[in-house]
């Protein structure tokens, strides 16, 4: 245990990066994700049509050179919708992941370093959130407040806080006993300084790994909600495309295949990147 926490964080990161890129799957996945991010950012340049505009081409035509991914029942271009759908997916995943990461670290560090009643209280609150069934909470929220990408993302992030917070707290609890943290306190530093200078670098890897898994699950949940019809109809969404495709499964396969594949590829990529991150920040593997 002692050898683990005394690993100098910076060396660990550079070693880790090498380890990460040496894993083929993680490398490819990371490349795919970068590509998806670029597509999302440059969506208006890439997409040939506005994603929601109906009647840009005849309805229900199969993939062709003018409509790479075919068109849906209202004559909307499938390719444009997939491209813009990446924005929605990454927005939801990104916001949810960031909220889970930031709030999780905050609560985890606070509880872990302070200990005692503060810790007890925080962890009970976190546990209370943890037992909520995510999907049903989201269904209730979407049906009460109406579907909105941002609200969905924010709530998904908050619901993911427990998994990050609990792991960070466990690490922080262990770090609190480490010599260099004790030394930090001995130098007269405040909790805040110690947390930032000495504890944060130690828990960052864990938090990043767990949060990136939450990114993937947020994207999946959003797709699931959209599939059930709880989606913001004013933005393109892969889940909503899948929902719409159900009626046309036997006549227009392209309406289901492309959004389905998009969701699968992005979620799988994020998962293998998260795994790569886990390997990279795991000192046992890095020091091998």
């Amino acid at each position: 245990m002692a050898s683990r926490v005394s690993t100098i964080p910076r060396r660990q990161w550079t070693h880790g990066l090498r380890h990460f890129t040496s894993s083929k799957l993680a490398g490819i996945s990371a490349a795919i994700l970068v590509l998806v991010v670029i597509i999302a950012l440059a969506a208006p340049l890439i997409a040939p049509y506005p994603p929601l505009q109906t009647g840009v081409s005849p309805a229900l035509i199969p993939p062709s050179t003018t409509n790479l991914f075919g068109t849906d029942d209202l004559g909307r271009d499938g390719f444009s919708a997939i491209v813009f759908g990446a924005r929605t997916a990454l927005t939801v995943g990104g916001i949810a992941g960031f909220v889970a990461f930031a709030v999780g670290i905050l609560l985890g560090c606070w509880g872990g370093l302070r200990g005692g009643r503060v810790d007890d209280f925080l962890m009970r609150v976190v546990e209370a959130f943890q037992v909520l069934p995510v999907f049903f909470v989201m269904l209730v929220i979407a049906s009460v407040f109406g579907p909105s990408t941002e609200v969905t993302a924010l709530v998904l992030g908050l619901l993911a806080v427990p998994s990050v917070a609990r792991l960070v707290r466990a690490e922080a609890l262990a770090l609190r006993e480490a010599d260099y943290v004790a030394a930090g306190y001995a130098l007269g530093n405040t909790h805040l300084t110690v947390a930032f200078r000495h504890v944060l670098p130690g828990v960052l890897g864990t938090a990043l790994t767990v949060s990136s898994l939450e990114v993937a699950s947020a994207i999946l949940t959003e797709a699931g909600l959209s599939f059930l019809g709880f989606s913001d109809s004013n933005v393109a969404s892969w889940g909503a495309m899948l929902n719409n495709s159900r009626q046309f499964l036997s006549s227009a396969w392209w309406m289901a295949v492309f959004p389905g594949a998009a969701i699968a590829v992005v979620v799988l990529s994020i998962n293998s990147v998260a795994e790569g991150l886990a390997n990279m920040t795991n000192p046992r593997l890095v020091q091998r």
Binding site: L52, T54, G55, L74, G146, N234, Q247, L249, S250, S251
Partner: protein, 524 residues
């Protein structure tokens, strides 16, 4: 074996069995009907649930039926006579009718059903039978209805006496019992063309031909089997595979093109769902929709035909009024609004809504009722593009039914919303959409549109019994409504159903279809 597995096995064995029976007998045969949900009760006297009525109306009958042209035709009453003041209706009942258990049917059953059961226990009873004071039974074949005042439900075509509002149930089995829990409510004993055979919950219901039916030679079918298949795509698949002959509910428009092209499938539009109109309404309390010019501009900007073509694959018709065009109450001279973007833009300019730098005149929210079916959201998506052409930015907010009802009908917290309105078998039922409501309630006028003239016209319409005068009143109401435009009708729902072309005479009429007896259905 799992429950589901057992169900599927029952279904397969069942359909094989019934299939072979039908093959062996030919002629009448077995009609297999796909249901989207299990009936709650098979006693139509205490329910208004579509599925309950649809199944039990083959077993129980009403006194007077309504044909496709809204004329009264005999049911358990073979003839009727109305007094000059309209307050006494004398019914002569069919002779020699027996309940399925052999007991003779008499006027006492009519008195019991109407007075003791329907009037108090049927969901529509207290309102539709409000004026029914008593039923006099001078002899077994005569029932005299005494009314306290005029009511459109007791004027021709006697909607209060049809099978779905006032089914006649056996007094000798129900009297003195709790109607809902009486076992006969799930093992019905009626006078209808089909006898109840069995109800295996979660799987199927079997009805067999009543050989002693009072109408000689009818029904033609030997057997009717209802298969309960809740999942829409499974149900559709079962129909495509020939395991079901008739799909009366929940057929998606998207399946029509594909299945309609098959020679062994008939797509039938219930001729008189002339009562359902899809469109939108405005909240006229607030800017900008408080200005009729804005509403007229939107009417000119909507391409109704494109919506019909894209959303319903051309199966529906464009709606011009709040009443379907097949109805005798439709006003063909109602003001119409052609697709005309120039006029729309001019009207918006006139209303002071000029385009901003980005070409947008104003933004508004379209609250979509997801409970109105798959078509509601698609309609909204097309409208977003159509209105964008005249500089109106439409933001779509789809709400699930319960939230929609709360938001729109209780809180009036909307700007534009989905209209999915039924006028009912008689437009007096649906007029609540347009008159000034006394309190917020679901499916009454939520728009804030309040016109004393409309209130007067439709108020008189509801109690007037002279049909010509009623037509005049409703025509004038349609003129005013389509001029003021608190509602914009877009399309007339046609309620398409799928029937295997092995059968004929299956689906006729939805209003009657709900209470249809399948008298003339047969194998080809």
């Amino acid at each position: 074996m799992s429950d589901a597995g057992r169900r599927i096995l029952t279904l397969i064995v069942g359909s094989l069995l019934f299939g072979s029976i039908a093959m062996a007998q030919g002629g009448g045969g077995t009609l297999r009907i796909g249901l989207n949900s299990e009936p709650i009760t098979l006693n139509p006297a205490i329910t208004n649930n579509q599925i309950d009525v649809f199944v039990s109306a083959k077993v129980y009958e009403g006194l007077i039926y309504v044909d496709e042209d809204m004329n009264p035709v005999p049911g358990l009453a073979r003839s009727w006579e109305v007094s000059d003041d309209g307050l006494t209706i004398t019914l002569q009942l069919q002779q020699g009718v027996r309940w399925h258990d052999g007991v003779p049917f008499t006027s006492a059953d009519v008195k019991f059903s109407l007075e003791d059961v329907v009037k108090t226990k049927h969901p529509l009873g207290p309102s539709q039978l409000a004026v029914l004071e008593s039923v006099e039974t001078p002899d077994d074949e005569t029932a005299i209805l005494h009314l306290s005042g005029p009511s459109i439900f007791f004027a021709s075509p006697y909607l209060a006496l049809n099978a779905s509002t006032a089914p006649i149930i056996p007094k000798h089995l129900f009297e003195g019992t709790d109607i809902a829990t009486n076992p006969v409510s799930s093992n019905p004993v009626g006078t209808g063309p089909f006898r109840f055979e069995e109800w295996v919950r979660g799987s199927h219901i079997v009805l067999v031909r009543n050989d002693d039916y009072w109408a000689a030679g009818l029904p033609l079918l030997d057997q009717v089997v209802y298969l309960v298949i809740p999942d829409a795509s499974t149900r559709l698949l079962a129909f495509e595979n020939g395991e079901i002959d008739y799909l009366p509910f929940g057929v998606p428009y998207s399946a029509l093109g594909r299945l309609g092209a098959r020679p062994d499938v008939d797509v039938i539009r219930f001729r008189d769902t002339r009562y359902q109109i899809h469109g939108l309404y405005f909240n006229v309390r607030n800017e900008p929709f408080s200005n009729p010019l804005v509403r007229q501009a939107i009417a000119h900007a909507i391409d109704k035909q494109a919506i019909v073509d894209n959303v319903t694959f051309g199966y529906d018709r464009v709606a011009n009024s709040i009443q379907q065009s097949g109805s005798v109450f439709y006003n063909p001279g109602v003001p119409t609004y052609d697709l005309d973007l120039t006029t729309a833009a001019a009207l918006l300019d006139q209303a002071g809504l000029t385009p901003g730098a980005n070409g947008i005149r104003f933004e508004t929210v379209f609250t979509v009722d997801l409970g109105a079916g798959e078509t509601a959201l698609k309609t909204a998506e097309l409208l977003r593009d159509q209105l964008a052409k005249v500089g109106i930015a439409l933001k779509i907010v789809p709400l699930e039914r319960a939230t929609f009802l709360q938001t729109v009908y209780q809180n009036y917290d909307f700007e534009v919303a989905t209209f999915y309105g039924t006028m009912g078998p008689d437009p007096s039922v649906g007029s609540k959409w347009f008159v000034t409501p006394s309190a917020p309630a679901s499916f009454v006028n939520p728009t804030g549109y309040s016109n004393p003239k409309i209130d007067d016209l439709l108020g008189e319409f509801a109690v007037q019994t002279d049909q010509n005068r009623r037509r005049e009143l409703f025509n004038e109401a349609q003129d005013i409504l389509l001029t003021d435009l608190p509602y914009i009708p877009i399309r007339e729902d046609s309620w398409p159903v799928l029937v295997s072309s092995r059968f004929t005479g299956v689906a006729t009429d939805m209003f009657a279809g709900k209470a249809d007896r399948l008298l003339n259905a047969a194998r080809r």
